[in-house]
């Protein structure tokens, strides 16, 4: 595998996917830092993993099922209590037209 170059363009693309508006200075700095970190990660390529299954989760024991029962949760007031803006008993976002 050829090593990807983490340049400004890659950082800007990834930042857009991650909903991060970065300043110009941040873009340059993260490009340099991520290049070094990804170079370290490349060292995993020393291992042959063709026949190795992936571990997504350490499933050590079977997790128990729970009853599909209605249980009390937060009241609407509690759920909205930490929202930056509330309107008409809901979370308010800026109005927009697509």
């Amino acid at each position: 595998m050829t090593r990807p170059k983490i340049d400004r363009e890659v950082v800007l693309h990834v930042a857009k996917l991650a909903s991060l508006s970065l300043s110009d200075g941040e873009v340059d700095r993260f490009a340099a830092e991520l290049t070094r970190i990804v170079a370290h990660v490349e060292h995993l390529n020393a291992l042959d993993t063709r026949d190795v299954p992936a571990t997504a989760q350490v499933q050590l024991e079977c997790a128990p099922w729970r009853e599909d029962a209605v249980r009390p949760g937060l009241s609407p007031e509690e759920a909205l209590s930490q929202a930056p803006r509330v309107e008409a008993d809901g979370f308010a976002v800026p109005t927009f037209v697509e």
Binding site: S21, L34, H40, N45, V58, A63, P94
Partner: protein, 500 residues
């Protein structure tokens, strides 16, 4: 002196009426107010709430009700764990004003056992870091030397316990965030088996790795807190219905015949020779207690760091997507957003972007970017899938080793506490702090750190004990066997010798 008492002693005295919970909490709060100015272990001290809770416990006793096994015991809580009515910031500006409307399951369980939450502790932002220097509110300091870090990310909890501002605390451990600070502050810290403790109400970092666990001044105290917080919870589908062993009874049990493995890979380059010598001496002492010591191989140890930084950042990039300025936390409107209702979807995205840029610190952004990169089209197989496969190899290492031995002992951290500022500009060298704690996290096995020795400079060195899944009891037996003969058992940091 109250600060000389551990968890079990305080609970006994409050249960018997020899001490009132109110007096315990008053003294604890006085001690925090005396010492924390110089240590910054706490982000919030719950003065009024803690006193009220203590009085309620005393009233309960006066009524003749039986008190729980944490009766009147002050507990400091890492600020990533939700506490109803008390600020919970996760060390981040984006949650600076967040006050959760609910308690995490571990908090509910502590309260049911009559423990008293005395405050919320400092941490690296969203638990991303090894020094608390990534806290948006300034770093915590090590009570053994305030120019040094207490470690991280649960550094505030570790510093609070080390300075005897609380006999115990909760932290969370994703790659070593309980064990490394325990090592650097001379406290006991346990990362339980993955699935042992409910994470409901823990602000998520990397969901396949995160576990909540206790800090305490002694092994038995940590075991008691673990016994209170462990167990299945319907609110967390990864928490398992494994019977709770009697963790406290395991403390003090003979280790005669127990097989102790020592991995060469953990005594390699980069390990401080003093740390190496102290840990080897402790292992010899365990042999003298009747354990049999043999070498084990964990050949993929050196790949754990890269594996962890791919998997943990990928999961973090997904978990932290929830912070968008809509349901809770900070919202920043970009300058470009028009006041009228003629905004477009891109204006909405600009609000998300501006909120996240203003709310997250450097390390969090760095990890979100890395995590998004390794999951992005074209790189997923090469990085994310590759790391998941190497995680399997790391797990197999432990499976094989635990076929031959019952526990594995190693250093917790390659060095003693480093100076604040020393590694802050070099992310990779900061990450290297966790080389010995990461493999157990990837494998989901229980592991703990406890005081091993003091260096010539007077800084704590930690002994790391790992065990098979759900065999915390075996791990605790080994830890308490060492603690019983450890020369550092009763030592206090200079900051803790000031009396209230």
């Amino acid at each position: 002196m109250l600060e000389d008492l551990g968890v079990t002693q305080i609970a006994e005295k409050v249960q018997s009426g020899e001490l009132s919970a109110e007096r315990v909490v008053e003294q604890t709060l006085a001690r925090i107010s005396l010492l924390d100015g110089g240590l910054h272990a706490f982000l919030h001290v719950a003065n009024a709430e803690a006193l009220e809770q203590a009085r309620e416990i005393d009233r309960k006793r006066a009524r003749g009700d039986r008190l729980g096994i944490m009766a009147g015991v002050p507990v400091a809580i890492k600020d990533a764990i939700c506490t109803r009515g008390l600020p919970t910031t996760a060390g981040s500006k984006i949650l600076a004003k967040y006050v959760p409307p609910y308690d995490a399951t571990v908090i509910e369980r502590l309260r049911l056992a009559d423990a008293v939450v005395v405050g919320k502790t400092n941490m690296d932002e969203f638990a991303m870091g090894s020094s608390t220097e990534n806290s948006a509110f300034g770093p915590a300091k090590n009570p053994w030397d305030p120019t040094r870090t207490p470690g991280g990310s649960s550094g505030g909890s570790a510093a609070a316990v080390a300075a005897r501002m609380a006999p115990c605390a909760l932290g969370s451990d994703t790659g070593g965030s309980i064990r490394q600070p325990a090592s650097l502050t001379g406290t006991v810290g346990i990362k339980p088996t993955y699935g042992r403790v409910s994470r409901y109400g823990l602000i998520a970092f990397a969901s396949s790795l995160d576990q909540i666990g206790p800090f305490a001044t002694d092994v038995r105290g940590a075991a008691r807190v673990l016994s209170v917080i462990a167990g299945h919870d319907a609110h967390d589908s990864t928490s398992l219905a494994i019977p709770r062993d009697d963790f406290e009874t395991a403390c003090g049990k003979s280790i005669r015949g127990l097989r102790i493995g020592v991995p060469d890979e953990y005594f390699a380059d980069g390990l401080d020779p003093e740390v190496s010598a102290s840990v080897r001496a402790a292992i010899q002492a365990l042999e003298a207690e009747g354990g049999t010591v043999s070498p084990v191989k964990l050949p993929h140890t050196s790949f754990a760091l890269a594996t962890y930084y791919v998997l943990a950042t990928a999961e973090a990039s997904s978990n932290l997507a929830r912070f968008d300025g809509v349901r809770y936390g900070l919202r920043v409107s970009p300058a470009s957003l028009p006041a009228s209702s003629r905004s477009t979807a891109s204006d909405l995205r600009a609000m998300y972007g501006a909120t996240r840029d203003a709310g997250f610190g450097d390390e969090v952004k760095r990890r979100i970017l890395l995590g998004t990169f390794v999951l992005s089209a074209g790189y997923y197989d090469a990085y994310y899938l590759k790391a998941q496969k190497v995680r399997t190899l790391v797990r197999r290492d432990f499976d094989r080793a635990f076929g031959q031995v019952d526990v594995i002992c190693s250093p917790t951290s390659p060095t003693t506490a480093f100076r604040l500022g020393e590694k802050v500009n070099e992310p990779l060298s900061m990450y290297l702090n966790d080389v010995f704690t990461l493999p157990a996290s990837l494998a989901g096995i229980p592991a703990m750190s406890l005081p091993c020795a003091l260096s010539k400079e007077g800084l704590p060195i930690g002994l790391h004990v790992m065990a098979r899944p759900f065999e915390e009891a075996t791990m605790l037996a080994v830890a308490s066997a060492w603690e019983a003969r450890s020369p550092v058992r009763a030592l206090r940091p200079p900051a803790a010798s000031r009396s209230t």
